[in-house]
């Protein structure tokens, strides 16, 4: 590793190079007071430089017993970790299916409890898929035309993450970052109510033998575990994502139990404020990718799922219009997983556009008064016959 890659200020770097220290190895044998004298900096600054240099060097030396590169995990260990990860169901069994069980934690996922039988199905499928060690989705981008149900999906996820462990959920809290003002509390209340009703039905159906353990959750409790941030400009958006680090660590310290940690961050929608106002396109791309990296960082450190909702625009190619996610290709590259929501006739479909591990597949879903559910198209066909 060369000097110019060290995270030190430009003037310090300049002094190092002009003094003849071009590689890390040259710094290994010098003492801080000598360095201070040669570079004409203070001793504490010199010590700092040496500390940074040794830290960078340490990550490169091979270690016989431990991992070859510090901070990396062997693929086998990762598989083991992924298998024990839990999923957040989207409440539509078809959608869960193509997602490999639901939205996983520790990844950023961009994009409900349906009727009784489907609840059972999705829980069973969750168990099956984890046995195969499906790779977890950390970072997911869900894009769609206006009115397709992105906000509904976001609210459904924020409610579903709170499903207790006994019912196959994560029992965690949610952070909902609203940039457009489309979060309706009454709707969240409706979805929360429906979720609790489905849970009690499931309870009654499956646990007939056991003691009747009533669901003690109220819709108000679910609403209480959704942290809502309203953002009015891109500066606030950047500031908030920087601040989330501190917010999450504070929250983690206060409540030690697994129950009350934040498990998902939903951003609705991530690119709204960046579409107007920014004159410098290159800067916009840099800021956005910086933001995406920070979110990925948060996802890994706190083991949460990050779901980003995005708008779509039409791209003019030759003579046709093509729907693409807003803000161009560069932003699309930063997200590892992408789901596109679209209309097909009268039905809503979700299509996995890009994923490192999941197959491209599409599933139909519908938005009902109770939230996101399986689309009932099969029932329609039977009725027509």
């Amino acid at each position: 590793m060369e000097i110019w890659r060290l995270p030190i200020s430009a003037s310090q770097r300049g002094k190092l190079i002009s003094a003849g220290y071009t590689s890390l190895s040259s710094l290994s044998s010098i003492s801080s007071s000598d360095l201070a004298r040669e570079l004409t900096v203070s001793e504490s600054e010199a010590m700092n430089i040496l500390k940074v240099a040794s830290h960078s060097r340490g990550s490169e030396t091979s270690n016989a017993s431990c991992s070859i590169v510090e901070g990396a995990q062997s693929a086998w260990d990762m598989l083991h970790d992924e298998e024990s990860l839990m999923h957040i169901t989207t409440s539509s069994a078809d959608l869960d299916n193509i997602l490999g069980g639901g939205i996983h934690c520790k990844e950023v996922t961009e994009i409900g409890w349906s009727s009784l039988s489907l609840i059972v199905n999705s829980v069973l499928k969750y168990k099956l898929t984890t046995a195969f060690g499906s790779e977890s989705i950390i970072f997911m981008l869900i894009g769609g035309v206006p009115g397709i149900g992105k906000t509904q999906l976001g609210i459904q996820i924020a409610v579903n993450v709170q499903i207790p462990n006994d019912f196959g959920g994560l029992g965690g809290k949610a952070i909902y970052i609203d940039t457009e003002g489309s979060f309706m509390v009454e709707r969240a209340f409706q979805i929360a109510e429906a979720c609790i009703e489905d849970m009690s039905e499931y309870n009654r159906f499956l646990r007939k033998d056991f003691q009747e353990c009533k669901i003690k959750m109220l819709p108000q409790d679910i609403l209480e575990n959704i942290f809502y941030f309203r953002i009015c400009s891109y500066t606030e958006q950047i500031a908030l994502i920087n601040y989330l680090d501190k917010f999450l660590s504070e929250h983690k310290d206060v409540d030690m139990s697994l129950w009350s940690q934040v498990k998902v961050i939903v951003v609705d929608s991530v690119t709204f404020h960046f579409r107007q106002d920014f004159d410098d396109m290159a800067l916009r791309t840099r800021v956005l990718s910086g933001m995406a990296l920070k979110l990925m960082n948060l996802a890994k450190r706190f083991s949460l799922a990050v779901v980003l909702l995005n708008q779509v625009t039409t791209k003019h190619t030759e003579a046709s219009f093509q729907l693409v996610l807003a803000l161009g290709d560069s932003w699309s590259h930063t997200c590892t997983n992408r789901i596109v929501l679209y209309w097909n006739g009268n039905e809503r479909y979700a299509y996995i556009d890009k994923s490192p591990s999941l197959r491209s597949a599409s599933a139909a879903y519908s938005v009902t008064a109770r939230g996101i559910r399986n689309s009932s198209s099969s029932c329609k066909r039977i009725k027509m016959m």
């Binding site: 003037s11 009454e186 609403l223 209480e224 941030f229 500066t235 606030e236 500031a239 917010f247 107007q276």
Partner: protein
């Protein structure tokens, strides 16, 4: 919040001086650059940049609310539970009480279906006192197509609320609460938005009606993408 001055944020003196020396005066400027760019610009180390950014971010970031407190707030503070009932039972039920406050609601429809009539009725409702289901506030009506007819408004008032509108002073008072603006171009409209923003807070304006957005743009001669661009700023401003 975005334009908060760096000087007002409690940063360590040395960093604050460097920020001002490099002409980064608002939080917006500081947060628009990436960490490395700031390092290059300010000539300080990564840890200092990071800690300065985290302090700035903490202050600029909006506070959080749980969804529950949001709902409670709606019911307690905001009049009528955060929604403005339109008087159409089916619509109000579907909208969870009525047209929500604090968001943009768009009325869409083919020509002749009654959009302007709807707007007139809503403006009237908004100006009515609360015991008649109104908001007891002012309405700013931006009439691009010159469709606003005060005679029709009074007719609606007479038929719907005869007890009030038959008295001339009351009718005058109610109608007086509806202020009509007639911008002739998008540029004029955009300019007047700034003015409206100021007067919104001062004059108890409870509703803003724009009739119609499409007319604003179709009057312009620019084509394609530029049209969308010119509209997007006013829209986000209104939000």
């Amino acid at each position: 919040m975005a334009n908060k001055l760096i000087s007002e944020i409690p940063l360590p003196k040395s960093i604050a001086n460097v920020f001002s020396a490099r002409n980064i005066s608002t939080a917006k400027d500081a947060l628009s650059l990436t960490e490395f760019e700031l390092m290059e610009l300010l000539d300080v180390g990564l840890t200092e940049v990071r800690s300065a950014l985290s302090q700035i971010s903490e202050i600029v970031a909006p506070p959080y609310q749980t969804a529950l407190s949001l709902m409670e707030q709606r019911f307690q503070n905001e009049h009528l539970g955060g929604h403005f009932p339109t008087g159409l039972k089916g619509l109000d039920a579907a909208l969870c009480g009525g047209i929500p406050f604090g968001v943009l609601t768009e009325l869409v429809g083919p020509a002749g279906i009654g959009k302007t009539q709807f707007c007139l009725k809503l403006s009237l409702l908004a100006s009515m006192p609360t015991n008649y289901g109104g908001l007891d506030g002012r309405v700013i009506y931006i009439d691009v197509e010159s469709k606003f007819s005060s005679r029709r408004l009074l007719e609606i008032g007479l038929r719907s609320f005869p007890e009030i509108f038959q008295m001339k002073e009351m009718a005058q008072e109610m109608a007086g609460r509806i202020l009509v603006l007639r911008p002739t171009s998008l540029a004029e409209f955009t300019l007047s938005l700034e003015q409206i923003k100021v007067s919104l807070l001062q004059n108890q304006v409870k509703m803003l009606v724009i009739d119609s957005m499409a007319a604003l743009v179709s009057g312009e001669h620019e084509q394609g993408a530029r049209r969308q661009q010119t509209l997007s700023w006013p829209i986000s401003f209104i939000k």
